[in-house]
């Protein structure tokens, strides 16, 4: 039952690096979430428009529109968790001021921490 409830939660993974996106998708599917994958900022924005998304995992450095622009252009109020390799304090501050909930640095964060955080947030 609990698993079925979680199935309803839809997570959009915005990531241009395919292997990373696949790993995230696999992990989150294993955890019982429904995932979508967008390769760049533009695709991400159209997915956010079309689908009923519960959480966006957003990379920053991407082709077309980067993570900052996605944050600026988003019209819906969907929680956003940044998942990036940029480790500058100002980047993290900028994301937070643009409305991001959380800022993870990919190479410094175990996958389980990310999954745990998502569980907390979407409970």
């Amino acid at each position: 039952m609990a698993l079925k409830e979680k199935k309803q939660k839809k997570i959009l993974i915005v990531e241009d690096e395919l292997p990373i996106a696949q790993t995230l998708q696999l992990k989150l599917t294993n955890q019982g979430f429904n995932t979508l994958h967008a390769q760049d900022g533009n695709e991400a924005l159209s997915f956010i428009e079309k689908h009923d998304i519960d959480l966006v995992l957003l990379d920053i450095i991407m082709p077309n529109k980067d993570g900052f622009e996605v944050l600026q252009c988003m019209k819906k109020d969907v929680p956003v968790c940044i998942l990036t390799n940029l480790c500058q304090e100002e980047d993290s501050n900028r994301c937070k001021s643009l409305g991001a909930q959380k800022y993870f640095i990919k190479s410094e964060t175990p996958l389980s921490d990310i999954a745990e955080y998502i569980h907390e947030l979407l409970r």
Partner: protein, 456 residues
């Protein structure tokens, strides 16, 4: 060469060196003759010659003229010789490919060669007898208030030396170019210093190459991070048995792979950090922090390792030291490396003593271990990039020789001092000292990447 007309007698930089030869002797003889001949002749004429009725004849006149001509040409040759000799030295100096600049004891320029003109844009006319201070500059030394003028600095050294790589030259058209320069004192025959000679070259190209190298390291490290992250994540999932149950044997294999990827991650982060310091992009942003809490948190990362080795931790904290204004990431990386080394290089059941102390206007943090120590002959090189002491190369082949180099660069960059005392086989104590007012702020575009604890 003209000399400045001050009370101190300044000797010319080059004096005519006589090479004694047969022609020299002849010229001197000729000189004596030309001075003495009229006197002798007069004496002959008025004295002896007149009394015996000797006439001042045409023949005598011709002899006098001949001697005079000979003597005159001799003198001319001496001057020509001297001129050619000086010319030769001048040409050699002029032809040196590096900038050559001579200064007197007051720091005024007395020599400026062609290469110096080309590098700086200043001609001899511009520079001769002008003060050097406006042309060369030494940037403010870190942590020191007095900005020594270039010429004072050069003269004060009074021994052959390479000038700091931070020395720059201001060209006539207003550009500031980096310099590689050496300075040597010029002393007279009594050993009194009369000035200095500076040989310099434009190192813009070298610095560009260095920069390109650092940028490459930075780029490669960045590129390596994504696949490494993916490897780490997949491994984590495998070890969490998300892809099916594992046998103990398989877990062992995977744990070994994980150690490898962790080490690679550490190295990549270390390279990134070093390149940030080199490229000058590292920012040092200040905020108050509790030193003792930070030390506790760093130690926490090594608690497991040290309890496995049964290490004893002694804390000698000075309650006067508490709040410290610093960049916490930078400070953490510094303490992390020092404490990591202490736990790594101390044999089981050893003691690590962490001490904080307020000494007048400075804060000193020391980490002492009872480890293998640093051999005497390696001590001077311990902060050199990629250097590893002989005794750890065998016992700990996995080190990379970048940790202490990074620590030293970071401490220097943030206005602190780092030193150590060590006795091989007895232990090592590292000291980190900062003004009690805190670290020195620095603007930049990058911060440090934290290392994953417990490895390396």
């Amino acid at each position: 060469m003209r000399m400045s007309s001050s009370s101190t007698s300044i000797q010319p930089l080059f004096t005519l060196k006589k090479i004694p030869s047969l022609s020299d002797v002849f010229f001197v003889f000729a000189l004596v003759l030309i001075v003495l001949s009229p006197v002798v002749l007069m004496g002959l004429y008025f004295g002896t010659a007149a009394s015996i009725g000797f006439q001042f004849t045409l023949f005598l006149y011709i002899i006098i003229v001949c001697v005079t001509i000979l003597a005159a040409s001799g003198i001319a040759r001496i001057f020509l010789f001297a001129y050619a000799y000086r010319q030769r030295e001048r040409i050699f100096l002029e032809s040196i490919g590096d900038g050559v600049c001579g200064i007197d004891v007051h720091g005024n320029v007395i020599l400026w060669n062609t290469a110096a003109e080309i590098i700086s844009g200043y001609t001899k006319k511009d520079t001769l007898h002008a003060s050097l201070a406006g042309i060369f500059s030494l940037p403010r030394a870190k942590g020191k208030t007095a900005n020594r003028q270039f010429s004072d600095y050069v003269l004060a050294l009074s021994h052959n030396t390479s000038l700091p790589t931070t020395a720059t030259l201001k060209t006539k058209d207003g550009r500031t170019i980096p310099l590689g320069a050496t300075s040597a004192p010029v002393s007279d025959r009594h050993g009194i210093i009369r000035g200095a000679i500076i040989v310099f070259r434009d190192t813009t190209k070298e610095q560009q190459i260095n920069r390109a190298k650092d940028e490459l390291v930075s780029l490669v490290s960045h590129q390596l991070r994504t696949p490494l992250t993916n490897m780490n994540w997949r491994l984590e999932m495998l070890l969490d048995e998300e892809a099916g149950k594992l046998t103990d044997e398989q877990k062992k294999y995977l744990a070994e792979i994980e150690r490898g990827t962790d080490r690679m991650t550490d190295l990549v982060n270390l390279f990134l950090n070093v390149s940030r310091v080199h490229l000058g992009t590292l920012a040092i942003t200040l905020s108050p922090c509790d030193i003792h809490a930070l030390l506790a948190s760093v130690w926490q990362d090594y608690a497991l390792r040290s309890s496995q080795k049964k290490l004893i931790l002694k804390k000698k904290y000075d309650t006067m030291v508490k709040q410290f204004i610093c960049d916490q990431r930078v400070f953490r990386v510094i303490l992390d490396n020092i404490i990591s080394n202490a736990t790594e290089y101390t044999p089981p059941k050893g003691t690590i003593t962490i001490q904080t102390k307020k000494e007048r206007d400075r804060i000193v943090i020391s980490v002492a271990d009872t480890g293998i120590g640093i051999p005497k002959k390696d001590q001077s090189k311990i902060f050199t990039k990629l250097f590893r002491a002989e005794n750890v190369r065998e016992s700990h082949p996995n080190g990379n020789g970048l940790g202490l180099y990074l620590v030293k660069s970071l401490v220097d960059e943030s206005g602190g001092t780092l030193w150590f005392t060590s006795e091989e086989g007895q232990g090592t104590t590292f000291f980190i000292s900062y003004p009690h007012t805190g670290m020195q702020k620095k603007s930049g575009t990058r911060t440090l990447t934290q290392l994953t604890p417990s490895h390396s």
